[in-house]
Symmetry: C2
Subunit: 350 residues, 2 copies
């Protein structure tokens, strides 16, 4: 049934050389929509990214969704008449973050691109560069600001067919995002974003927090399925890098404290009689969906209490000197007697 | 906090040559208890196996939990005075399933074990062989029957220290299982079960269904952690082979029919006005935990209906000629008007 929406978490492998934050095997959470050209899918995916990180980061960590369109990159290259050097130019622009204006400029000149064209290219890249503004006023990094930046792109780009289409596509996306609103993400139009020279053909997306490699990325890929025999089917998708997100959460202390809800009830064990009595109850509780365990050694009461405390178990079930059953909340002092498993469950669930 | 109970699902790698059902990379679901010598853990794990397969197989597939104790194997070997050939003997016995009496006998004779000893060994193995009885009366394959088989083991084994300990340990386990009851598993004492010559030291467990390699296995391993610097800590654990269980379920048609509960609500799309109206509602519904999607192309009504039907979406939301909103259950005919998102949610959740 097309369009086909796919959500999947699985391990994937990287062929590149592994480095810090670039693991050989890692987990990816993918969301893809196959068989639809509609730009509403881009809007959908960006909203999903915003939802996911709003929840994961709890509003405590700044992050930016950078958005570009490969057709705008094509427009830039076409506008200076260097179409045959598209790949080299994009590779250079993509390094803007690392080697800045000077570095990109040198790299382009080394590609035998005339100095004038290099300046034109860098003018465009600079004209939409958000870095300075963002540091001044983070609020600007929203869909509204992106629309302004798009409108300010040099006419030369809009005059190419690819450039014009790329601008119109992004305008649609930013317009919708402006109307719908974004929860916590900074939305940024980044004309230097290239996402490698892969299979992307339209919108490209990348999510970053400071000091980490990108934690989510994706874009539109026309006819990628053509490689596998299914022609003329467009797709758009994003991938969350689960391991990196894990690293970011750990690094920023965003994991909630361990709640210790693994075991709810501990049956204590002070004699063979206790084992005899508690073993069937243990499995009955589990059958009712209550996580329980029996202390496996016949041990001193105090040792078992410490164990329950360390594991933050909420209830302990024991027998008193007369062999009567009782349950005690670890936080409280009251020992509630009970005589049937149903009574015990009622007390626990209350 | 010891004893430490560990439950984990993860991909693992096999160093052996891959074969049918023996994948290079596969998923394992582990349950281990570290730091407790109590045989109650064995009981616990066997009950967990019974719970898991009772649920997965829905009572529609026979399966057997075979149980042995490595100390009984030691006892068998000691009782014929061939302790130094323990590993070879166990390897041969382990092949009983594949090469039967004749094959094991030949293999043992080739190991330079006297013919009399070979016969003694095979007598023991045969004396507790369940294969014939099981085919006659499956009901016998329970903890009660296992206890009888244990009692009938030749005295010579019980007279060795290892043999005696192994028998007593299994008696405890089978006694408890008899008292607690088993839901759907056949429980079988299998003196030929060796589980390779790995790190197991006590109870060993293996789960099989017909025509498949084992789908779960495990046992007790004393001091395995010693290899990694933590001395004198006992452990016991089981591993479910997720991929094989998947194969078994598929092969036996035990997967439930697709319920199509991925998308609950489809917003139809017949005009830009629809997109404008439905896009914010789409994200509001999702924020309330209701899975929804918007048909991304402005398409004919009939095409969208077919899409909703194929995806088994329960509700469609549309506008009529006057632009009024309504929701329709795909199963029914009634078009219910609504004017706010809260009204829509009330209708859907009813």
């Amino acid at each position: 049934t097309f369009p086909f929406r796919r959500f999947q978490i699985q391990p994937v492998w990287r062929a590149d050389r592994p480095q810090k934050g670039r693991y050989r095997e890692f987990y990816q959470c993918d969301a893809d929509i196959i068989g639809s050209d509609s730009l509403l899918n881009e809007v959908d995916l960006i909203k999903i990214i915003d939802d996911v990180f709003t929840e994961l980061f709890q509003g405590k960590l700044k992050y930016t969704i950078s958005i570009n369109n490969r057709k705008i990159l094509q427009g830039i290259v076409e506008s200076v008449g260097e179409t045959d050097k598209f790949e080299q130019i994009v590779v250079a622009i993509d390094k803007f973050d690392k080697i800045s204006y000077e570095g990109v400029s040198n790299e382009l000149i080394n590609c035998d691109i005339p100095k004038l064209s290099v300046e034109q290219i860098l003018d465009v890249v600079f004209s939409v560069d958000w870095r300075r503004e963002i540091s001044k006023e983070i609020k600007e990094a929203d869909a509204h600001g992106c629309l302004q930046q798009l409108a300010n792109l040099p006419e030369s780009i809009g005059n190419t067919i690819n450039g014009r289409t790329g601008i119109e596509e992004l305008e649609f996306v930013f317009e919708k995002l402006k109307e719908l609103g974004i929860k916590t993400a900074n939305i940024k139009f980044d004309a230097t974003l290239a996402r490698g020279l892969g299979y992307y053909t339209g919108t490209i997306i990348e999510v970053k927090v400071d000091n980490f490699p990108s934690i989510c990325g994706g874009g539109r890929y026309d006819d990628l399925t053509g490689k596998f025999g299914l022609k003329d089917v467009s797709g758009v998708g994003i991938s969350f890098g689960a391991d990196r997100i894990y690293d970011v959460l750990l690094d920023n202390k965003l994991y909630p404290e361990f709640k210790g809800d693994s075991t709810q009830v501990l049956f204590t064990n002070q004699s063979a009689a206790d084992e005899e009595k508690f073993l069937p109850m243990l499995f009955e509780l589990r059958d009712k969906g209550i996580n329980a365990e029996l202390y496996t050694e016949q041990a001193k009461w105090q040792k078992q209490l410490i164990f329950a405390e360390k594991k933050r178990i909420k209830f302990i079930v024991s027998t008193n000197e007369n062999g009567d059953l009782f349950v005690k909340e670890m936080d409280g002092t009251e020992k509630k007697p009970f005589s049937s498993i149903d009574e015990l469950i009622t007390i626990i669930r209350k």
